[in-house]
């Protein structure tokens, strides 16, 4: 039997002095799956994604990613970027370098790629997303849609196995939404997508999970 890429066993989480947000969650995601995660605002969807990349630690439970249990910061450092790519809700948070090329190069350079290889990766990633010629553009001058596409490029440049996408289509016009949908459909990665957009999720994902009252249900 194949092992899931992501396996959560009995994960619970609570913010300080607040009632628990996640309660004994079990979750398995297998290679090649595209899974939707839905739920009301404040139901803990983003928190769950943050737990998966180790930005927050669960109060109890076990996280197994790519076949290894992940407990310490060091365990998670190994999988960030190359193992799991995380697309943030607000592209403004993700793009912090002055130019597009520098921002895309940031991840691969952190992975220890050489300077020349990184340049190839930057050009390649931009070209494959239809963003040829964006290298020298100033990130803060990009439109909202361009920012989102470049943010996707920064994640893909690290060649992750799993993609966590936090509301990838929110705030985009129809054209860019369609582009994001097309891009995601072309990608071979395993994905966990948080969104409220039912039409988009219908197009992209194969199964749906809903987070309510701290538990995951599969409708």
């Amino acid at each position: 039997m194949t092992q899931p890429l992501i396996q959560l066993n009995q994960i619970s989480f609570a913010y300080h002095s607040k009632p628990p947000l996640l309660h004994q969650i079990d979750l398995n995601i297998y290679a090649g799956e595209r899974v939707a995660l839905m739920g009301a605002n404040g139901s803990g969807k983003s928190t769950l994604l943050q737990i998966l990349v180790g930005l927050r630690r669960p109060t109890e439970g076990e996280i197994i990613i790519l076949g290894q249990p992940r407990r310490t910061e060091a365990d998670f450092v190994n999988i960030r970027g190359g193992g799991i790519g995380f697309l943030f809700q607000d592209a403004e948070d993700q793009l912090f370098c002055p130019t597009v090329a520098e921002d895309i190069a940031f991840g691969p350079l952190n992975q220890g790629q050489s300077w020349t290889d990184t340049q190839t990766i930057v050009t390649y990633t931009l070209t494959s997303l239809g963003l040829t010629g964006y290298e020298k553009r100033i990130t803060y001058q990009l439109s909202g849609g361009e920012k989102r596409l470049v943010a996707i490029a920064t994640v893909l440049a690290m060649q992750p196995s799993i993609l966590l996408l936090d509301e990838p289509t929110t705030g985009l016009d129809e054209d860019v939404q369609q582009r994001v949908t097309d891009i995601l459909l072309q990608l071979p990665q395993t994905m966990l997508i948080v969104s409220h957009d039912r039409v988009f999720l219908e197009q992209v994902t194969q199964r749906k999970m809903v987070l309510t009252g701290g538990r995951i249900t599969c409708p």
């Binding site: 290679a31 943050q50 970027g81 995380f86 963003l131 097309d182």
Partner: protein, 306 residues
């Protein structure tokens, strides 16, 4: 071992003609030039557009976009020469040195072929301040009276002092504009790293440059939301309290944003240090420029010292 097809695939190895993934989209319209302009909706109120234009000068300095001899010089050389001359000009009191320095700075500025309008803007901002010095220093500095206007005594020393300050500040501004403003921000950052300056300060500089615009936009949004609900500046507690809330909210938002940015950076493998960029060796033009500039500097320094 997990072997999973990833996207984008690794760059094709030499000799193997791997074709690109068949995801081809029409690019988004690029807009014209490096322009914020293309993104401005024509329905925005007038004042906001002018704000944005000002910001363009602030963050994406048009100065760094040129293609002159100076633009191609090594950043280390440019930063070094700029610091040397700025130091000399700052400590010198000889008119000869100051004028020679000014000529050199003017020459460099001319070499950069910078657009005139933003340069004039910079200079006029500075000289508004030196104008104030000319209005006050001749009256307030003790010394030999030059001439009198009614009861007011104008002193020679005061006029000299104001002139010296004007010369110095304009020279240093031109020097920095020609040699440092023409650097791309990241190159400046890398050079500072190369010069072993505190990494924390350098990060602070780079992040300030990147996010000052975002914070400013946040400020604009908040203040517009306030105006829409009828907020006007008055000299009363309501105004002070509301502005206090505004600033407080900006600080809270910025701190939150800083947390999110750090998290996003961690997710891309950041561990406290920026990746190092390859070292570039000096070109003949760098050596030529350094030799000429340092000789000039030594000459001026010698004359100044004697």
């Amino acid at each position: 071992m997990w072997v999973i097809d990833t996207f984008p695939p690794a760059p094709p190895p030499k000799g193997e003609g791997r074709t690109a993934v068949p995801v081809v989209f029409t690019p988004l319209p690029l807009g014209e030039g490096p322009g914020v302009r293309a993104n401005i909706s024509p329905t925005l109120p007038h004042y906001q557009i002018s704000e944005l234009k000002n910001l363009m000068h602030l963050t994406a300095s048009p100065f760094s976009l040129g293609n002159s001899f100076i633009h191609h010089l090594d950043p280390r050389v440019r930063l070094g020469i700029a610091s040397l001359f700025a130091l000399l000009i700052a400590i010198s009191t000889q008119f000869f040195t100051l004028l020679a320095g000014l000529s050199y700075a003017l020459f460099l500025t001319w070499m950069t072929r910078l657009p005139f309008s933003p340069l004039r803007k910079r200079l006029s901002t500075l000289n508004l301040f030196t104008l104030l010095l000319f209005l006050t220093l001749p009256l307030t500095t003790a010394g030999l009276p030059w001439f009198t206007l009614g009861n007011l005594v104008i002193t020679q020393e005061g006029c000299t002092l104001a002139t010296v300050i004007t010369l110095k500040s304009n020279t240093i501004l031109l020097l920095l504009t020609a040699l440092v403003s023409t650097l791309e921000i990241t190159k400046l950052g890398q050079t500072l790293v190369g010069l072993r300056l505190s990494p924390k300060l350098i990060h602070l500089l780079l992040f300030t440059i990147r996010y000052v615009e975002v914070i400013h936009q946040e400020f604009q949004r908040l203040i517009q939301a306030m105006k829409i609900r009828g907020f006007q500046l008055h000299s009363n507690w309501h105004t002070y309290r509301s502005l206090g809330y505004l600033i407080g909210m900006l600080i809270v938002n910025s701190a939150d944003r800083a947390d999110r940015i750090l998290a996003a950076m961690k997710c891309r493998g950041f561990h406290g240090q920026f990746p190092k960029y390859p070292r570039v060796s000096l070109q003949p033009s760098d050596i030529l420029f350094s030799t000429v500039s340092i000789s000039l500097w030594l000459g001026l320094f010698g004359i100044d010292w004697l």
